[in-house]
């Protein structure tokens, strides 16, 4: 890093001291992180859009195999949706605790969010296990390939979200609510709520529309 060159204009008594910044001036660390992370989420949105398009095109090709009506249990999906929705509001509480400068409270609500996330994953894995036991594997039909890819990718995102959540709790314990950690909490907040937005699409298009077909 080179030192910033600062030229001082000749000053008189009335005129305030002026600095001319000839080099590119310093940006505060992380000033563009939130926007950058948002743009990452938008690119992630495109990945999900492709998977939704695949599902929309292939979702009716059962290859004489099981259809959504035979496979999906809406009560289980409603429970799963509730898990994710509760985890969204508990993450909100974590952000509110952070804004009040409480490390312990932030960690507590992050932990509760993580438990709801694990509950969601547990139910999803149980559902996948159940489907595979019935013979509705990803290899069975184009519908099932598209289904497992779309829902599995969402589940994988939730898994990584939980890994990040645990990492963040450790970082908060070590360094407290420093600027970098506050930024991380806000980024994970966006990631977590974004996954909930994707889940709205999943439960509407895959599960509810699937059972309607």
């Amino acid at each position: 890093m080179s030192a910033t060159t600062i030229t001082t204009a000749p000053t008189t008594i009335d005129e305030p001291v002026r600095f001319y910044d000839l080099d590119e001036h310093a940006h505060p660390e992380g000033h563009s992180t939130m926007l950058g992370f948002w743009i990452y989420l938008m690119s992630d949105c495109l990945i999900f859009a492709i998977l939704f398009a695949c599902y929309a095109v292939l979702g009716g090709n059962y290859a004489a195999g099981p259809a959504p009506k035979d496979l999906f249990d809406l009560k289980l999906i409603a429970l799963n949706t509730a898990m994710l929705l509760f985890s969204s509001i508990t993450y909100g509480f974590a952000v509110l605790q952070m804004q009040q400068g409480r490390v312990k409270g932030t960690q507590l609500w992050l932990a509760i969010t993580g438990l709801f996330g694990l509950g969601f994953l547990g139910i999803e894995l149980y559902e996948f296990h159940h489907l595979i036991e019935l013979g509705a594997t990803p290899q069975r039909s184009a519908f099932l390939s598209a289904f497992f890819t779309l829902v599995g990718t969402h589940g994988l995102h939730v898994t990584f979200g939980i890994v990040w959540l645990v990492t963040l709790m450790v970082q908060l314990g070590k360094h407290g609510l420093v600027a970098a950690n506050r930024r991380r909490v806000m980024c994970l907040s966006m990631f977590w709520h974004f996954l909930d937005v994707i889940w709205i699409g999943v439960f509407t298009i895959v599960y509810l529309m699937g059972v309607l077909r």
């Binding site: 002026r18 600095f19 001319y20 910044d21 000839l22 001036h25 310093a26 940006h27 505060p28 992380g30 000033h31 992180t33 939130m34 926007l35 948002w38 743009i39 938008m42 949105c45 495109l46 859009a49 492709i50 939704f52 398009a53 929309a56 095109v57 809406l74 999906i77 409603a78 949706t81 929705l85 969204s88 509001i89 909100g92 509480f93 952000v95 509110l96 804004q99 600027a179 506050r182 930024r183 806000m186 966006m190 709520h193 974004f194 909930d196 937005v197 709205i200 699409g201 439960f203 509407t204 298009i205 509810l208 529309m209 059972v211 309607l212 077909r213």
Partner: protein, 124 residues
């Protein structure tokens, strides 16, 4: 060469972060619960025909996505100097073109296909 008068203090400003409030989260949560419960109920109980139900639940999903964007993701036209909204609108345009285009093309491809017998050994 001209340079804007630049105050050294600007560099030490706190990074701008969306301010969340309990009110926002509570409104968002209650709306989401309502907007989730109604579609599930409509599909489980079927008070309407399948076509009408499908249209209604798609509408509810769209509204719920907006609710999440506003109350949970703190999306405003002003956030990040408007760049968040710009990238969101760009993404929505791309997604709509991609989804509508894929469905349109594949639908026509399907309807223009030669009808196939269920048993491939009966092919001419």
């Amino acid at each position: 060469m001209s340079a804007d008068p630049h105050h050294a203090a600007d560099a030490h400003h706190e990074i701008e972060m969306p301010h969340a409030s309990m009110r926002d989260y509570a409104i968002g949560f209650i709306l989401s619960v309502i907007l989730t419960a109604i579609p599930f109920w409509l599909v489980m109980e079927r008070p309407f025909s399948a076509g009408a139900t499908a249209a209604i639940i798609m509408g509810f999903a769209a509204v719920q996505i907006v609710v999440h964007m506003v109350y949970f993701l703190h999306m405003t036209p002003k956030a990040e100097g408007g760049w968040s909204m710009t990238s969101l609108i760009f993404t929505i345009i791309v997604v709509v073109i991609m989804l509508a285009g894929s469905l349109w093309v594949m639908h026509h491809l399907n309807t223009n296909m030669m009808p196939m017998p269920h048993d491939p050994s009966q092919l001419p």
